[in-house]
């Protein structure tokens, strides 16, 4: 009876149940547990008292404001870079796109610390320019605007990746046809490129917004000192002052966040409706616009943006890692590598953290690639009645901040697993499971949008050639979505490698991640050690990216997202 399993669909019988079960176990079960805790809080009347608190309302407003303006900033910055680096004849594209990808790989709390170091009264940069605020004056970033700005910087590469994937899929002949029709470059941009790349922009904006709602690191560093709370930091502080009703309270608070994220995604769905631009026939060769005399101006502007977004904060971070104490002026005399020595050779904690994070991130990225391709296939080729539900199930854990996922996993896995009698609480596996749940949507998005853009006739032709599901999957679908799949693996690896919020609650001795190690060092006042470890994290990320660069010649075109 169920049509989605009709033989005409030719999906293996296990596929849909498998995807649904997997998603349900990882995404729905923990959250259902959390919702249960929330409902009992509502029934006991404590939820009403909570919602009536002014601090909760101001946190909700702050969350929406910062996420919205952060999304605008991310779309502007990411959109500019995607258009300039994909379509214009800007010089030094490789370096520009490489550097532009970096902010999203830097953990948010590290980013925030670096910016605070750069922009405060003791900033070496501002002092050199003579525009440093007076000592004792408030730090300008400790504000709603500051949080939104850093959201924009942090999430601009997500918009960039999403839009760029769409731009690379644009049919070159379509653009050339418009040019020949007499359209000026500006008109081609306005009439052809922007409408066709709108799905990419909308998807990118949605990712940026949802990421902002769920961001913990930035408001924790920038908001807490000025008593500015967003919902994630409010949940965190409620957990820190653990009380009898904490689980009930954060269940209600996370329900509010869930509603915000779902509302944002509803708007995205509505905006994407009727914009299913499957690219017919062949694409891949990207078009180029000649900028002429505007080129130096655009290039200068891009480099200026990169300097403010990345180079100056990183310089501040590096200098902080080289001085013995915060505020000491860096000079040849004061510089020392003692912080690096400490974390690399003396502290086993940091070395364990490196190993744990790489294991967790690698397993998550590859595991989610497999799941992502299967789930993405189910979502795009399956029956319409159920795909919306499945999509929502995947989306919700990503929309929730890591801290809510962690609490949900604590609630579910604190007790031993049924039937097995094994408890995974306190082991690295609970973090891995939480990562799978948290980053499923991140890994899925590029794959789904690639599958959406794939001309269905390509797969149908393979079916008529006699190729069964697995054959088609490996011969046709995987090679054609390889660029997006590559982007998805890199994204998931980088995000999970830098992640703090999930592991902050789930770690225990021996299972700490890099994020936890940095946070603990900073929390205990060792700003220099935290900076040094952050610098190493950034270096590791850069090295991994360069490694991919070297492999790129053997990879299908477009797998490395920052390459042309």
């Amino acid at each position: 009876m169920p049509h989605f399993l009709a033989k005409a669909n030719s999906q293996p019988r296990w596929l849909f149940p498998f995807v649904v079960t997997f998603v349900a176990c990882l995404c729905v079960l923990p959250l259902a547990r959390l919702v249960g805790a929330g409902i009992s809080s509502i029934l006991s009347g404590k939820a009403l008292a909570l919602v009536l608190e002014p601090s909760v309302w101001s946190a909700a407003v702050n969350t929406l404001t910062t996420s919205f303006f952060g999304m605008i900033a991310a779309v502007l910055i990411g959109g500019l870079f995607a258009l300039a680096l994909t379509l214009a004849d800007v010089r030094g594209k490789w370096l520009l796109s490489f550097l532009f990808m970096l902010p999203t790989m830097i953990p948010p709390q590290v980013q925030a610390l670096a910016w605070v170091g750069m922009s405060g009264p003791s900033s070496p940069l501002l002092k050199a320019l003579g525009i440093a605020p007076a000592m004792g004056s408030p730090q300008p970033l400790y504000s709603v605007g500051g949080i939104a700005l850093l959201y924009g910087v942090q999430h601009a590469p997500l918009v960039y990746l999403s839009l760029r994937a769409g731009l690379l899929a644009l049919p070159r002949d379509g653009i050339e046809a418009a040019k020949l029709a007499g359209a000026s470059p500006f008109r081609v941009l306005k009439d052809i490129i922007l409408p066709l790349s709108l799905p990419g922009i909308i998807a990118g904006a949605a990712i940026a917004f949802v990421s902002g709602v769920g961001n913990f690191g930035i408001p924790a560093i920038l908001g807490l000192p000025a008593q500015i709370y967003t919902l994630p930091t409010l949940i965190y502080s409620r957990l820190a002052s653990f009380g009898g009703n904490t689980f009930g309270d954060i269940a209600v608070l996370s329900a509010m966040i869930g509603l915000m994220a779902v509302a944002g995604l509803q708007i995205q769905e509505r905006a994407l409706r009727g914009r299913d631009y499957r690219v017919i026939g062949l694409s891949g060769a990207s078009a180029t616009f000649r900028l002429g005399r505007w080129r130096p101006a655009l290039e200068a502007f891009l480099w200026l943006l990169l300097f403010v977004m990345l180079i100056a904060p990183m310089a501040a971070l590096v200098s902080a890692s080289l001085v013995p104490a915060y505020g000491v002026v860096l000079s040849l005399k004061t510089a020392s590598f003692s912080a690096y020595e400490e974390i690399l050779f003396r502290q086993t904690v940091t070395r364990t953290a490196f190993g744990n994070s790489i294991f967790l991130a690698g397993t998550t990225a590859l595991g989610l690639l497999v799941i992502g391709v299967l789930a993405g296939y189910t979502l795009t080729r399956g029956a319409s009645r159920w795909t919306g539900l499945l999509s929502a199930m995947i989306e919700i854990p990503y929309a929730l901040p890591g801290i809510v996922i962690s609490v949900a996993f604590v609630l579910v896995f604190a007790a031993p697993l049924p039937f097995l009698g094994v408890t995974i609480y306190g082991t690295i596996w609970i973090i891995l499971a939480a990562y799978f749940a948290s980053f499923l949507a991140v890994g899925l998005k590029p794959v789904v949008s690639a599958l959406r853009q794939l001309d269905p006739a390509l797969e149908e032709a393979a079916r008529l050639s006699g190729a069964g599901f697995y054959r088609r999957l490996f011969d046709i679908i995987v090679p054609l979505i390889a660029p997006a799949a590559g982007a998805s693996v890199i994204l998931v690896f980088l995000i999970s490698c830098n992640e703090l919020t999930v592991s902050a609650l789930l770690w225990s001795a021996g299972t700490q991640t890099l994020g936890v190690a940095i946070y603990n060092l900073d929390d205990s006042g060792s700003y220099d050690l935290a900076s040094a470890l952050s610098v190493l994290v950034v270096l590791m990320v850069v090295v991994l990216m360069l490694l991919l660069e070297l492999m790129a010649a053997r990879l299908p075109k477009g797998v490395v997202p920052w390459r042309n």
Binding site: H3, A6, K7, A8, S10, I280, G281, L282, G284, A285, D455, A457, L458, E460, A461, A462, R463, L464, S465, G466, A467, G468, R471, D475, I476, P479, L480, P556
Partner: protein, 342 residues
Amino acid sequence: MAKLILHKLCKDYGTGKPAVNDVSLDIREGGFLALLGPSGCGKTTVLRMIAGFETPSDGSILLGERVLADASGVIPPEKRNMAMVFQSYALWPHMTVADNVGYPLKVRGISGERHREKVSDALKAVRLEAYAGRRPADLSGGQRQRVALARCLVTAPDVVLLDEPLANLDRHLRQEMEETFREFHARSGATMIYVTHDQAEAMALATDVAVMSEGRLLQVAAPAEIYARPEGRLVGGLIGQGAILALPERGAVRRDLGWDEILTRLVDRVPGGTRMDVLVRPQDVVLGGEGLPAEVEGVLFEGERYALRLTLGDGQKLRAYSRVACTEGERVTVRINAGWRL
């Protein structure tokens, strides 16, 4: 290979109006059927049901004794031994021309020398041997089309489906490809089903033409038959050139009408009575000499002749050909040698 039978085929997407409604059709073994109709008439849906991409809501599809689809289930496309040329060609951009053509063989486990031989034979048949190592992106539209054909040729499919394969090609290439299709049909001996909205294409290629409109099958016949004896106004208007006159019925028995029968009905001005539709082909309209007066409304020079649009005294329209030039507004006399009652 065997006869392909569509039996009371229906497809309803739940939009209130079925996309395909009660289509029954027998396609003889080795036949070349053109499914003709305006866009949105359901012809592509029929094709996709034959291929197995769509499940019929009702009815069945049989290939000889083998049931491909009925109420109890369907055989998936990969098990049907069919091949298809898609409107967008559907070549895999990550494979070379030879890999594209050889893929059905690879799936069937044919490798080595036999594989190479078959691929090169198929490429030779579409005159693309020299392009084996290229990627589809480096080919022109006509070449891509021929690669898609070669991919169908490489195995011996029971049925070859063609979904408006010439829609994206220019006129010159179309003629060349029509040649190639005919060759292909003769060579493979496969049953071919060709979806098109271009009646000239359908008439030129097919051994049988099936006309569809709004999900229903109107008529199936050989091209010459359907041209000479169309059933109903829709088919008459769709196939070939011609004008449809409304004439008083007055006990006409035969469907072939001669000049006398047409003339008496045209001059008869008695109002009322049932009327019948009579199709008049332009080549049956002779200008000059004794006949009815008419006025030239439009002239189109077609190279070998002039195509005229005429208006009769009672306002009815007629089409005719002329070897000499006419001017608009000119008064002429016409004689209608033959008409077909629709």
